[in-house]
Symmetry: D2
Subunit: 330 residues, 4 copies
Amino acid sequence: MSHPSENPADLDRQNPKAEIAARAEAYRNWGRWGDDDRLGTLNFIDAAKRVEAAGLVREGRVVSLSQSFDTNGPQKGWRRRTNPVHLMTDTGTDAERGNQGFPHGIGGADDYISMPLQCSTQWDGLGHIFDHGNAWNGRRAGEVVTSEGDQVTGIEHAASVIVSRGVLLDVARHLRPETGELEDGYAITAADLDATIAAQGSPVGPGDIVLVRTGQLTRTRRDGWGDYAGGPAPGLSLTTAGWLHRTEIAAIATDTWGFEVRPNEFDVPAFQPLHQIVIPNMGLTIGELWDLDEIAAVCAEAGRYDFLLSAAPLRITGAVGSPINPVAIL
Amino acid sequence: MSHPSENPADLDRQNPKAEIAARAEAYRNWGRWGDDDRLGTLNFIDAAKRVEAAGLVREGRVVSLSQSFDTNGPQKGWRRRTNPVHLMTDTGTDAERGNQGFPHGIGGADDYISMPLQCSTQWDGLGHIFDHGNAWNGRRAGEVVTSEGDQVTGIEHAASVIVSRGVLLDVARHLRPETGELEDGYAITAADLDATIAAQGSPVGPGDIVLVRTGQLTRTRRDGWGDYAGGPAPGLSLTTAGWLHRTEIAAIATDTWGFEVRPNEFDVPAFQPLHQIVIPNMGLTIGELWDLDEIAAVCAEAGRYDFLLSAAPLRITGAVGSPINPVAIL
Amino acid sequence: MSHPSENPADLDRQNPKAEIAARAEAYRNWGRWGDDDRLGTLNFIDAAKRVEAAGLVREGRVVSLSQSFDTNGPQKGWRRRTNPVHLMTDTGTDAERGNQGFPHGIGGADDYISMPLQCSTQWDGLGHIFDHGNAWNGRRAGEVVTSEGDQVTGIEHAASVIVSRGVLLDVARHLRPETGELEDGYAITAADLDATIAAQGSPVGPGDIVLVRTGQLTRTRRDGWGDYAGGPAPGLSLTTAGWLHRTEIAAIATDTWGFEVRPNEFDVPAFQPLHQIVIPNMGLTIGELWDLDEIAAVCAEAGRYDFLLSAAPLRITGAVGSPINPVAIL
Amino acid sequence: MSHPSENPADLDRQNPKAEIAARAEAYRNWGRWGDDDRLGTLNFIDAAKRVEAAGLVREGRVVSLSQSFDTNGPQKGWRRRTNPVHLMTDTGTDAERGNQGFPHGIGGADDYISMPLQCSTQWDGLGHIFDHGNAWNGRRAGEVVTSEGDQVTGIEHAASVIVSRGVLLDVARHLRPETGELEDGYAITAADLDATIAAQGSPVGPGDIVLVRTGQLTRTRRDGWGDYAGGPAPGLSLTTAGWLHRTEIAAIATDTWGFEVRPNEFDVPAFQPLHQIVIPNMGLTIGELWDLDEIAAVCAEAGRYDFLLSAAPLRITGAVGSPINPVAIL
């Protein structure tokens, strides 16, 4: 089998089905970690990788890679994805007034949240996307994720896994040094990724977690989200599937809603085609809506682009995604 | 001013108001980190502490310290604290059936959660408890936490802070070597904490995050929560306030609902009196409902009780608490 | 085809499958109101019935038949059914303090709710129960109710329908005149229903909405729900299916969690077998957790048991149930 | 005291504070129904009025006056007001597949909702708006509505009250006979209301519930809500306060987000000034986001504009508003 092209110009823009299928087949990892696998490429993280990553902590500095969870986010209700609604069950106003019924001057504030698990900075779990009714590792989608949640690959299985070496690829800064922002619709290629790595000097290999900065968040932070929720954005080209496979990275995250370029690279309707390849077929864990701006500044100043990345999901039983606060420790 | 006694036998069990007030005054840290402070004792974590902590990573192993987020938890509706409700907006059953309306065979599953932020493994933020209408650093409670959330000390301010050296104090195993479980109502004393440290051999000092295992979770895991939600439990004695202050620890967490012993040590009604001292007065961040069983086993086997602890809260704007998945990396 | 027995003693308590199937077949109304029907027995309500019902309004009195929506209800988390969580987004405490940012002295309070639609007084929609994968009118369940809701028989289709003559059958008072409470596990028979009607003097016929008081709510109001959520309760016997069919009533409601007797009348496991017959096969709309105590007292005093019943569901698109506040107007 | 002008041209557009205060004082009903009152103008509904209203049922027809509860509504997150999020806990897709674990072929679908109580068709309760820290009947706002809800005038107190004669005032059709739509920003005057009544022929008096159709919903149904959530709309002029008072109507509702005209009639910032007069001072219950289009057509055809209106709120303990499905029965 010849490998699918990694040049976007070679894509048959009339035939998403075939382009997706070729890559799904070429990069499918089903069975690679056994029939019972629940982790996919997170298996590439090993003990040595973590020890190596801890060795990158030299300044004792922590940078949060999370966007805020509040009503200023990009979600506008598409498929019932709203911004988080954070509500108080008790407040300081009440406590100060003394109406809470507690003795001896103690008062309290408590809170509550209602939110889609994918509303802000998050991991997509392996049960998030299916390809022709197949979930990760070749299971039938309907046997994996029912109304009661993901019975097999729920995000709780990754609760003690996602700590590794993180490598920032500031593709936006590399390709657009003056603005540091890729334009919406820009499809990042494998060549772009390699060129960024070469320029930055921090290599990428098995078990690493790669963070691709597109700069779109910088723009929305300045201009507002408007009615965004999945509109045009820079992101990975469908043709990076091979790169994502052969580098044996453990996971990847971007600073955008959808990870891959939007609109996508087809002239006929298609929806998140790179997701369709890498989640159910490759078993790749994907992060979205991360904030990579501060870490980009820190890395640029430090002259190095790797760090210890700690990004454990919440232990929500059966979830197909999780809100997170990933931290770079360096 | 003489220091309040650290011997529970000295407590005036008829006079919680005075016992609380004496300790609130003795251990108050208001102004210690400036008038604008939003972090309290988390300020004790410095860069050197984090570099030291990273140096503890020798095996490349990660242990999650989180309990599950699902309907099997201990919350029964008290003050509207329920267990989390996790719901699917899309499922694999639907995707496999092909009724989602996406082209070329892609399908998806998404999810949603409604939950109190304190329903399972969590940090209490500094806006969670007040003392006579005062919040952390001497601010008025009503100026800090309104119906719109914590306007000053929201948990988002700790988003890039809580990574430090963690030290497990397996008090339950030290005091009850045969069962590894303290009985409900057992009040852990400062002497118990020191004895455990001495026996384990890992000292505790400024900037450390201390994890106190009571073993109650082991018991509820075996016997079920029943209608728990804040019933009797082992926990810290009110008289440990001095220990919590002079050790200059950054934060503390336990495997129980309420951190401190329940019922408390008074013969007249009182409610979470140690909280009243340490959160608004001392500025101490408290973790509750952690799972310390696996890390206890790992530490016992390894013969050391310290590790890199990464426990960043979700970046929920204005929250007075946050669900977390703390991980020990060692 | 002979009609299934209406005597509970004739039930084969070892064979729920057969007993259910016989009644499902005997009382199936599929196609009775056309292939496109979305209303089932609600079709029995006609204009004349409503005019007749309005004529019952003689005192100008309104009685709410709703239980409260709050954390004191019977839901304990079974299948994620919790009691409602009602939260404030703004409060009077804040408004009085003047921290809401509005000009000229205006202040406000707003609120929010998270709840299962079946948590308190409710209608079960026709998409709520299936029989061997079949929904009401013979549609396939998976084509009716997906993760996006009930695409065919959503409760919104009944938004302008459920106003009719209501008839209270105070079976508890008739059978247990001293206590007015049926014991848990008591299976109300067709004979019981007819005897109650005869004693009360208000007949039941096509298009009526029948309200069966078991008195269990009186008991739980006195003794508390404990850990109820679907435990033992009085309710309709499986053998009333024929009565429900031949009377051509439009809908029926009880003051219990589950409408039918619990535990049910089989010696082997079965679950809500009468639901399985009457919702998907007969197309009967069922109300649960109604409060029939005040209306029972009013009817007893007035010496008549019928009234105008207005019980429109909320217009929640695609819902399979709806919280309601049914009112009797008499 | 002279009565405030009912001519909008007389308003001092620079001085909302004074214009509001004059009307608040002139039309204040505090104490009118006793110190313990929780109902305000709903007290105007009496038994005779309800019997009269029931007499209006001549055709046996029911018209729902509710808009839909779904993600197509006007709420865009302002002050955390989102459209409702309706989610399934069980589905027919799962049931048909047989993965729910129930015996003998029974399957089920259940659902859940998270929503602001004011997200779609609703009543504002008396605890919804305050005037200078005062709630209805002169109570202090902070003693009425805390984080635990409305402790005094919660909507549950109206659970068996709001059934009366409804009168539609199709002001839009009367003033704009060709389009049936008032333009955004049009302030409906007392003269407009009286002219509409005169033209329609159904008088308005004590205890009636008045429904004012502006036609804005017709427009948004055609053009979409866009990013509405409280933008410009036709609605009642501030100067109608006197009319609302002297007619002694029980309640009023419109087909708009905010009942009163938006933007309001001042040249300096003000917020919902008519609310500030009529809710806390007059004790008037207000309905918003009703759908008055079908009833307008029905009334026009029937040549009469009054009917039995049944609009009981959900019995949500302590709520300051309630989602409803009001029905006109005629």
